[in-house]
Subunit: 343 residues, 2 copies
Amino acid sequence: MTDSAEAPASIIDVARRAGVSPSTVSRSLRGMPNVSEATRQRVMRAAAELSYVASPAASRLASGRTATVGVVVPFMTRWFFAQVVAGAEAVLHEASLDLLLYNLGDAAGRGRFFDRLPLQRRVDAVLLVCVPVNDEERAALRGLGVPIVMVGASSPGFGSVRIDDEQGTAKAVRHLLNLGHERIAMICGLDDDDTLGFATPVLRRQGFERTLLAAGLELGPENVVGAPWGVDGGARAMEQLLASDRLPTAVFAESDEMAFGALWTLRRAGLEVPARISVIGFDDHEMAAVVDLTTIAQPVRPQGEVAATLLLDALAERTGEAAEVVMPTHLVVRGTTGPRPPR
Amino acid sequence: MTDSAEAPASIIDVARRAGVSPSTVSRSLRGMPNVSEATRQRVMRAAAELSYVASPAASRLASGRTATVGVVVPFMTRWFFAQVVAGAEAVLHEASLDLLLYNLGDAAGRGRFFDRLPLQRRVDAVLLVCVPVNDEERAALRGLGVPIVMVGASSPGFGSVRIDDEQGTAKAVRHLLNLGHERIAMICGLDDDDTLGFATPVLRRQGFERTLLAAGLELGPENVVGAPWGVDGGARAMEQLLASDRLPTAVFAESDEMAFGALWTLRRAGLEVPARISVIGFDDHEMAAVVDLTTIAQPVRPQGEVAATLLLDALAERTGEAAEVVMPTHLVVRGTTGPRPPR
């Protein structure tokens, strides 16, 4: 990528020149809060120097024939997906683009999507949220002939916005280790249908196991329990742990939603949190603060905002399409984690 | 509506003949749990007598040209909308129909939707979730020339599935009155943009005020506080109440999400629930059980299921399109409501 006048600059170029993240560029140029005046000025200057315009009107976009962007999600009922889409929509609507959402649902729905490609000739660009694709599917998507950006996954030739799930998980586990915990369990979400091939559960489990092993702890099958993804599944997984040989002193849940269920079971069982057992989640769901859950925060709406901006860049024939943006995660300490209880 | 062979029977006819709700018919014919064997048998018999077939394949539907149903929601990030859509999708996918979701967002997005009608020629039927329409908008929708069903609203000539919001609210308020409460406040959700014209907030507020007045209680402006819709708004609204002249002993929140925020504020303020203050919500959100919230339950996914079935009936040229189905609500007592504290 270059600052020269040959190819118009993308949001990635502006971020690099201003020394900030693409998310900060997106928020600065859209006048969103949580950006300092100094940073905003620096971003504006970099954008001006590179002749970068935020949210070009749909009429000015090169391929703006349908004025519609297709968004594909596996399950729209999950908080994460809905938030990513809301972030993308905020950016797309400012550019007067409509959003057509396609919910894959189960494996059959996914099969139908790639067979029929219902977005064909209906959209100018496609955003795939947590839909990893195989070679055949990638070829089918390429055949749509429109820019494609992925959130929570990556694939050669497509733009990508994601977090580092393994690194984020390592932060959660190290927080528990630093509190003195040694008997640490993980609650995993099982999807009815593992042919969907989500990367997140695999990466978070890897992060969990590798961090424990690196700390010199042993890892047995009793360290990991699984139940259907969601609040109810988290409750059931915690019930499995409560019925096990040796109660863990700390639990890492793959997602906040599963952690909520785990906390629910612990409340019903009368086990004090964190005095008897610590719980940490992942995502920083809007309910995490409400139930005082310690968690690993990821920027959810901003991932949708940046992905949508990459699509706008691609539609304006800038260089952003195939960029890969990895966004940061951080530990948020609240009331559900504490020191290992005395034996 | 008739049982004769003149017009094919709809789900409404089957429900009437079997003496059960349309939701029970939908669930029975789809082999879902939570239906007794006796009921299922009765429904199967009624369906057979009326030659009613659940989930006809898309290829057999009269207007099945695009094999796609358009679903229009105001805000897809809200739990309620996502659940309704998930219910509709389960039924539509069984009939091999795809779902194309249009998220209105703000008033500008809504204006664009009715100006451009982006669903035109893209869908065989339209499901509107909580999108009340004026005469002009109704005419525009009629112009699509496809069956239309609404959830959470009704309009002449369109099918409709909803609950009785005013009656549900009355149940919540009467529960508080029966516990001896007299100083009862309501937390309302304010949308950035009240041109969207949602019926629910108006009806729930009416239900609140009418039930208090019917009980002989006085009603002042201090009885109702408003804040932006959502968890954060609920937290802020409860802060307003905590700063008021006379603390209420009980609070009805317009939705569970606002009640969650109210509980969060009360926890931070150290006010015991329900010993010092009772809180009741509305919806029975999946997190309500987790935080032990007393609430008014409404069937959320089933509303989407029944609405989708009405659309299938209409596509199969049965008589279901303009049917109006009102689904029941009920009080769920959990740990956040209790007797009025002694003065």
